[in-house]
């Protein structure tokens, strides 16, 4: 089933959802957000499916990260209530007109967990397994061989992908271990 992609300004969000629902896209599959700290925006996306018509649309809009407010689409698609509640909890987007934006999982004291700038405590506590390197355990030098003629190739310290450098746990040297 092909998926049409559509972007609208935030003030057209609810009206466009209503038009799509009126045109048969009545199944709400997903409503979620993508945080873009560099651009200072949060994208809000909704995936709507017209099941008998075998059509689907991915509708997208953007709100300012500083003050993310968007019209709720609960009046158009009641199933969006729970998704908006979750997006509010995880990304801090306020959906004007949604009657119940209470958090589902968090106690509200750790920021917005799915914003890219929110540190993940588990990532800070766990050691990244990717720093291991088989070349750290080279074969023993053959008996009688002198010192290796070439110095060990210096390797840059690898960092876990997707984890900002300022989150990385300190190395033993940086932590001042003996």
């Amino acid at each position: 089933m092909r998926c049409a992609e559509l972007a609208v300004p935030a003030d057209r969000w609810r009206a466009t959802c209503a038009e799509l629902a009126g045109a048969g896209h009545t199944m709400l599959d997903l409503l979620t957000c993508i945080d873009d700290p560099a651009a200072g925006r949060i994208a809000v996306l909704v995936h709507l499916v017209d099941v008998p018509g075998r059509r689907r649309v991915l509708l997208r809009t953007e709100v300012a990260r500083e003050d993310p407010v968007l019209d709720s689409i609960v009046a158009v698609l009641p199933g969006a209530a729970w998704h908006e509640r979750e997006a509010h909890e995880m990304f801090g987007v306020r959906f004007a007109g949604n009657p119940d934006l209470r958090p589902l999982l968090t106690t509200g004291d750790m920021g917005f967990p799915l914003r890219r700038t929110t540190p993940l405590p588990a990532r800070l506590q766990a050691a990244w397994p990717g720093t291991a390197d088989p070349a750290d355990r080279p074969p023993p030098a053959p008996p009688g061989a002198g010192a290796p003629r070439t110095a060990a190739r210096p390797r840059t310290r690898l960092a876990p992908p997707g984890v900002p450098a300022e989150w990385s746990p300190p190395t033993p040297e940086e932590a001042g271990a003996p």
Binding site: P129, A132, D133, R137, P138, P139, P160
Partner: protein, 100 residues
């Protein structure tokens, strides 16, 4: 083929670390060392990685399949039988023997 868990072919794995480094949940770990192979008299003996341990923690794995996609040597593949339930989370960490 259903995506119930992932199998490792330890003969095919070159310990290249790609899957370990790409896994978003950090649930793969491996240990390897290097050995010389080939003619012992050669001036520059060839070095290969030898896999000592390979672990997937099914308690963390989200079955995204990135490790299967990223492996250049087809050492990882989906298999259809699910991970058996355990009473202890440590039982969800499968080594080479269980992943075969």
């Amino acid at each position: 083929m259903s995506h119930a868990r992932i199998a490792l072919d330890p003969q095919a794995c070159t310990s290249c670390m790609l899957c370990v480094r790409e896994c978003p949940t950090w649930c793969i770990s491996l240990q390897a060392h290097q050995e010389h192979v080939g003619d012992p008299g050669a001036r520059r003996p060839r070095t290969v990685n030898v896999l000592d341990a390979f672990t997937i923690d099914w308690g963390l794995c989200m079955y995204c399949g990135i490790c299967v996609e990223v492996c250049p040597f087809d050492a990882l593949a989906w298999r259809p039988d699910p991970v058996p339930a355990t009473a202890d989370p440590a039982g969800l960490r499968h080594g080479i023997a269980e992943l075969r």
